[in-house]
Symmetry: C2
Subunit: 367 residues, 2 copies
């Protein structure tokens, strides 16, 4: 292996720090209330909890509220745009087509299908908790969810629209004009393409899914079974947290990786190289988040593996040179199931979209 | 014109009667409570209300509850299946793809786009209030929503699955196996293809949207503006209620119709003939429901007209030999806006779908 395996993007992450502070605040709050409320769980941490917290930070208990640090107007507009098919060229494809809320923010396909039944080269990651990543896309070409959200809309393989089309569509509907004004009150011309991404990003920032593992890390030792804790111990002993760390258990560094399918076929995605054009970035991909991993199959950047256990074995062998017994793999899989969180109710409620007007551009199906 | 224009399917409709009985019940109930509740509106009907009620029946106020006359288990299962893309061959297309709840149960496209980006010949009608129609599809080839629901899943242009595929997919997931058992408790082998349609149909039966016009017909004269009432008067004077009658304001008869586009191009859908093979059914289409008509564009059976006003003029000229002034057309359009109803909250809440298992059939994209 001639490449260094890992590249950290930032040494200290503001988000990371904030979440730790929130966590500390909750601990203090919980402690202060112990005397009155007998049902409050003890915050004395076990050795395993403490060890884990050196690498992984839990989502705050009130993650949904914390994520709502922008106005209701921008978040609701963002949700509407997330479900809005008319911002695609065909009028058929919305963000939710590939990032389906019914299936944990993914399409459960190896690679997504877009305009004209065209397929892209990479597996669509979940939008759930995506705001916790340091960068967006497998190659990190967008710095945040706001920048990311604007890109698939314009991709010829995905929604195949143009900035002009999107602005024309939205400007044709009085309700959207009003909603952009309310969402971006300080701006003279709020209905611009950049703000489409800004609004969708604001919505995505609330897509935080609190899981049993979060409860466990916040002091509830009973949130995991003994078997799941054994799986966590195995996960840490193997060293998975070297990459799958932080609040998203991933998303904050790039690593050299080729899938078995890519090795077999000799046709490999080039990862971060496609963005930076640096030879040293060739075949480097963003470490995926493990949150909701049991629900966001198929796995690896080309979606070539359907089984979670098979994925565990592939990654462990390739990244850590570990070979697990069948039971060890099963234990880790059982632990990973505890990362499945609750999707906020608000995100599951379909918004009613305003009707098209006479001057709303019509759908086009040509490729 | 050599064809008789209209064919009634049934002379008396059970649904029609039931809704009138429910309406009568509400009247009695409201009357009995008038003494105590000063805010209850008078039920003395105006002449226009009475005239309208000879042709059109309102949805009951508690339409959502009335629709829920099957078990919660079958309705919830039906909702999951409605949002389930894995019952399509590609794993990408669900009922909600073309009958999008965010856009009043339609895709707002001239004709729908299905498997392999293929297009069908006809505009997808809304699923909202579809259970009130006497038959399903533009050609009436399905007798009810239960029978209808099973057909697009198998259509090569739409979801392109087979019965075997659907049963194999659903049987592979323990949660679905349990849910079919709970939804069809008397059946030895509940997870069969027929019950997929039965469950989706049960869900569709609750998709009743109560509108300002329903409130008006139930005695609230203030639910419509004077202008909207003038539009209603114009609608009745023109004779639109000859076809657009009953609880769905349509859906209970077939009429000869060719769209301007079909006449111009000389390429016309054959309508009910495709189903019955009777020469006398050639170019006969089910009269579409007018409920939520302002939101379910584009119009006519080939989705060839985007404007509601243009549609009003086309149909009035063609079916009733009427030519409206611009103001008359606008009045009728204003009245038709009052048929936009409320989608039940329950239907807008996206269900979380169970995860695929190792033996769940994988998506296939070939045509």
């Amino acid at each position: 292996m001639t490449h260094p395996k890992f590249k950290s993007i930032k040494s200290i992450r503001g988000m990371f720090l904030l979440i730790f502070l929130a966590f500390a605040g909750i601990l203090v709050f919980t402690h202060c209330n112990t005397a009155e409320k007998s049902e409050v769980k003890t915050v004395a941490l076990t050795e395993l909890q403490e060890k884990t917290l050196r690498f992984i930070s839990p989502l705050p208990e009130n993650a949904f509220t914390e994520g709502m640090n922008q106005s209701e107007e921008i978040i609701e507009l963002g949700k509407m745009l997330f479900f809005e098919p008319r911002i695609s060229k065909s009028g058929l494809i919305s963000c939710n087509t590939c990032h389906n809320m019914a299936t944990f923010g993914v399409d459960q396909l190896p690679v997504s299908v877009g305009h004209g039944w065209q397929k892209g080269p990479l597996n669509a990651p979940t939008v759930l908790n995506a705001a916790l990543h340091d960068t967006q896309f497998w190659n990190g070409r967008a710095k945040d969810v706001e920048e990311q959200a604007g890109m698939p809309i314009l991709d010829k393989l995905e929604m195949a629209a143009t900035e002009e089309h999107v602005v024309e569509v939205l400007s044709s509907m009085p309700e959207y004009v009003e909603r952009f004004k309310a969402a971006f009150p300080g701006e003279e011309n709020p209905l611009v393409y950049r703000n489409v991404g800004n609004a969708i990003g604001a919505f995505e920032r609330i897509l935080l899914t609190v899981s049993p593992f979060d409860h466990y890390l916040r002091g509830d030792d009973g949130a995991l079974t003994e078997r799941q804790k054994d799986g966590l111990q195995m996960f840490l002993d193997a060293g998975c947290q070297a990459c799958h760390r932080g609040a998203a258990m991933g998303g904050d560094m790039f690593a050299f990786f080729q899938t078995p399918k890519e090795r077999e076929t000799g046709v490999a995605n080039k990862g971060r190289f496609d963005f930076t054009q640096r030879e040293s970035d060739k075949y480097f991909f963003k470490v995926p988040s493990l949150l909701n991993i049991a629900k966001t199959y198929p796995y690896l950047h080309d979606g070539s593996v359907w089984s979670l256990k098979e994925t565990i074995n592939i990654v462990a062998k390739d990244m850590l040179n570990k070979e697990f017994t069948e039971e060890e793999t099963a234990l880790i899989a059982d632990f990973l199931e505890t990362l499945t969180g609750e999707i906020p109710e608000y995100a599951l409620k379909i918004p009613i979209l305003p009707p098209s007007e006479a001057n709303t551009p019509r759908p086009r199906f040509d490729i």
